[in-house]
Structures are given as C-alpha cells and as structure tokens.
C-alpha cells in the first residue's frame, strides 16, 4: 500500500495523540467552520446507533463537529471540511449533486452504506444511484458469516488505509468496486471500503458500518476514524 509522506505523518500523529491525549485541535477552515459535518438522513439512515457512534467518537477526539439534517445542507456544507453520512440507505439526485460539488471543492465525504439492513428493492435502486452519481458499483449485501464456521469465521474487517488495523465486522456488508479507486478495506476477500479522488476532494465509501462499532467503544475503529480525518483534511 502506497502512502504519501503527509498521510504517513497524519497516521503517526494520530496514533500518538490517541495514546496520550485524545482531545486534539484541528485548524479551522473558517472561524465559524466545523471540522466535520455529520449528515443525519433521518429515515434514510438505517442504523441510528451508527450516527450516535460517530458523534460520540468525534466528541471524544475533541473535534469541532455538528450534526445536521438534509434540509440545512446548503447553509452548513460550505463551512465543513469533512462530511460523514452514517448508514445511508437513500441518496437522491439533489443530495448527490451537493456532495459532488463539495468534493470538487476539496471536501472529504465519508459515505457509510446502510443498505445491508433494508429491503432488497430499496437496495437495488440505491445501488443504481451510487453507480450513476459516484461511479461506484455496490453489490447485493452479503453475510460474512454464511458459509464459514469455527476457525474460518474471523470477525474482522482489515482496513488498509489510512491506518492498517482490524475492526470488528458488522455481519452484513455491501461489496464494492470502482475503477480509478483504491480498496481501503476488505474481509474474506471482499472489498468493502473504497476511496477515490473526486475533483480536489476525496470520496470514501464503507460497505461495513463503522458507527455502531465506534459506539461500542472499539479502540481500533476510533483510531481509524481519527487517522482518516487527519489524512483527508483539506
């Protein structure tokens, strides 16, 4: 896995900070800006606990973040460095357009898919939208537990970037693929995390929910999120 010097420093710094002092301070893009905007898609977020997990983790990290729902996006988006969208089940064309515009202007979007817990019809529709808007191919959700037993059932997702670490899987995952993107996470040979440049920004998609694991206090998940925010900040 190739890593730029900047990314290496970001990861090393975040690991050191997490071990001695969890509260860190990011530079402000604007005086009233936020390091991170958590987008609450309400009924289109399939796991409320995922949203809580990101909120709790960002608070622990001492980051300046805000949680807002879809309708406030025009006002808050220009003031954010990162947008985190937990357990997404539906993205409409308007939201996709705003996110793409944000990405073009150096933003970072972490899109966590919540499609593994919705009806197959909704899932199929959203897979098409992901493909048309973001050029990401999402497959039908799979259970990591099916067909494995005993010792073969190692319950971890291997994250490769920006921090190599193991985080507990969330059972049902959405396999991902996309051209001109890098795989950043996999489990049992299935790619479930992708990152790609869009304009001047970075779009990262997770097919295995990380938020609930953050909420449960998983240290590796927290370290990964911190490293991710450090590595992708504008």
């Amino acid at each position: 896995m190739e890593m730029t010097r900047r990314q290496l420093l970001a990861v090393a710094t975040s690991a050191a900070l997490l071990s001695v002092e969890p509260r860190i301070q990011f530079d402000r893009r604007k005086s009233l800006g936020w390091d991170c905007l958590i987008l609450d898609l309400k009924e289109h977020c399939s796991l409320a606990e995922s949203l809580q997990g990101y909120e709790g983790c960002l608070a622990n990290l001492g980051l300046n973040f805000v949680t807002r729902s879809h309708e406030f996006l025009p006002d808050v988006l220009p003031q954010a460095r990162h947008v985190v969208i937990p357990a997404v089940t539906s993205i409409d064309a308007e939201l996709a357009r705003r996110l793409l515009n944000f990405l073009e202007n150096q933003g970072s979007v972490l899109l966590e898919l919540g499609l593994a817990f919705v009806d197959p019809t909704i899932c199929d529709l959203q897979r098409k939208l992901l493909s048309s808007h973001f050029q990401v191919e999402a497959q039908s959700p799979v259970s990591l537990r099916s067909g494995c037993d005993g010792e073969q059932c190692v319950p971890y997702v291997d994250y490769l970037w920006p921090l190599a670490t193991k985080v507990r899987d969330f059972s049902r995952v959405v396999p991902l693929s996309a051209s001109s993107s890098k795989a950043i996470a996999h489990s049992r040979g299935i790619t479930i995390g992708l990152s790609r440049k869009v304009g001047k920004g970075t779009l990262t998609i997770l097919g295995s929910p990380l938020g609930p694991v953050l909420r449960a206090g998983d240290q590796e998940a927290q370290s990964w999120l911190h490293a991710f925010l450090s590595a992708t900040r504008a």
Partner: protein
C-alpha cells in the same frame, strides 16, 4: 411463598384445561404463561382470547404468576438488525400489555444475547437502552420487567455484580431480575445472587443444576430439585435473609420419560420441602 410452574410443561396431548387441572391437583398456586411457547398463547392471541385464558386459569383454581416468553432467543433486543429489534420490542411490549389482563405484575425477558457475531460491548449498550425504553411502557402498565440471568446461554452478565451494575445502568424501578437459581452453574452461587439482588428480585425460577459439567451439546445440565449441586439450605436461608416472599416458579428442562404427570407432583412436593425448610 407461592408455587408456580410453567404452562410449557403441559403436554400438547393433554390440552390446556387438563394441564391446568393437573397443576392444581399437584398443589401449585399458579401457572407461568409462556408467550410463544404454547399453542394457546402466541403473539397473535387477541385480548379477548387472553381474557378467556385467564378465565380457564382461574376456573382451575390457579393464578398467573408471571408472563414469560420463548421468543427472545430468536428475536433479541440486542440484535444488530433493527428489524429484529423491532420484533423484540413487539413481543415484549405484548407481554407488558397482557400482564394486567392476566392479573399479574411481572414479566420475564431474556435481555441481551452475546454471540460470536454480536460482541458483548454492543449487546450491553443496546440492551440497556432497549430495557430503558420498555421500562417506561412497563411503568405505565404497573408491570415489572424481570431480566432473567441465563448466564451461560446468554454469555452475558455472568456475575451478580455485573448484573447489579446492569440494573444500575437501566436505573428504573420497573426493572429487576428474574432470578433463576439453576442458571448459575459453576460460575457462582445462587445464594450470593439472592443476597446481592434482594429487593430487585421480581420472581424466582427453581431448578437444580449439575455443576462442573458444562453444557455438552444438547445434553441438559439441569435436573429436578435436590438431584443437582445447588446448596438448597443456603438458598433458602438467603431467601429468608432478603425477606423474599414472592413466587417460586419451577422450570424443569429435563422431562420425565414415563409417567409424565408424576413430575408435577414430585416438583411440587420438593418445593414444599424447600419452603418449609425440611431439607
């Protein structure tokens, strides 16, 4: 203390009425009704049918000691899948609704299920939050939720202090422990659980356990009263110490292979000996 036994002990070939008659004849005061565990008491059973069920219980000269369910194992409130959690809230909510109709103030739930897939920390958070939510509904219905200690089977809340902390985190007067003195196996001592939880005990399940053997596949380690390794004099003394005067409910896993009705008489007689202290 009053004696009860589960309606899931009634053989289908007997039917409810005959089963209730046997329970009364064997000397029990009440019956524990298992939602989802018998043909006569399902989630789809209407309020009218529930009232009719109570009428049959009362006609047999019995009371309903509590409402339990067999559904938590397949639909736990700690599931990762929100749809399964919704089903769990549905059946536990139904228990809360029917308890007053059945003139009882206690329900049993198996709260939280740690699996290879769903780890302890996740289960703990979801279970605390789920039970807190249900506690509000229980409070309005004047019903107490008794979370059972299925220590080994749940792989959750293994020690009495751990369970005590869980109840502190739930922090509701409408939630306590439905203590099963057989479920502690060789991880502890039932009498110590009784002492620690005292007034928080909503009901007590009685069975004996063969300690030091673990579970071996589907083999049961549970057995009839006084056949296992529980220290019954110590259990009785602890119940007296904490002034427990509520229901004792027999929960026999292993069934008699022959003369099935005899198990009701033997269990009732053993409970009499425990209550009277003739041990």
């Amino acid at each position: 203390m009053k004696k009860s036994i589960g309606d899931n002990m009634i053989l289908e070939k007997w039917g409810l009425e005959k089963g209730l008659e046997l329970i009364k004849k064997a000397g029990f005061d009440g019956v524990e009704l298992w939602l989802g565990g018998t043909p006569w008491f399902q989630k789809t059973t209407t309020d009218g049918q529930v009232i009719e069920l109570l009428r049959k219980v009362e006609n047999a000269g019995l009371m309903v000691s509590n409402v339990s369910n067999t559904l938590d194992w397949d639909y736990p409130i700690s599931s990762r899948d929100p749809k399964i959690r919704d089903q769990a809230f549905g059946h536990i909510g139904r228990q809360i609704e029917v308890a007053p109709l059945l003139k009882t103030d206690a329900i049993l739930v198996v709260a939280g299920l740690v699996t290879e897939e769903v780890p302890y920390n996740e289960v703990y958070l979801r279970t605390v939050e789920g039970i807190k939510t249900l506690a509000e509904k229980a409070g309005k219905a004047k019903v107490k939720i008794g979370c059972e200690n299925c220590n080994s089977e749940q792989r959750f809340l293994h020690s009495p202090r751990e369970f005590w902390q869980f109840l502190n985190d739930v922090n509701s007067p409408h939630v306590g422990i439905h203590l099963d003195v057989g479920n502690i196996h060789d991880t502890g001592f039932a009498e110590q659980w009784i002492e620690i939880h005292g007034p928080r005990i909503t009901r007590i399940h009685l069975k004996d356990v063969l300690k030091h053997r673990g579970r071996c596949g589907r083999e049961s380690v549970y057995t009839n009263l006084f056949l296992g390794d529980n220290n019954w004099p110590a259990i009785r003394a602890a119940l007296q110490k904490v002034n427990y005067d509520g229901w004792l409910i027999a929960e026999m896993e292993a069934r008699y292979r022959y003369a099935e009705d005899q198990q009701f008489y033997d269990t009732s007689a053993a409970m009499d000996r425990l209550i009277s202290g003739r041990l």
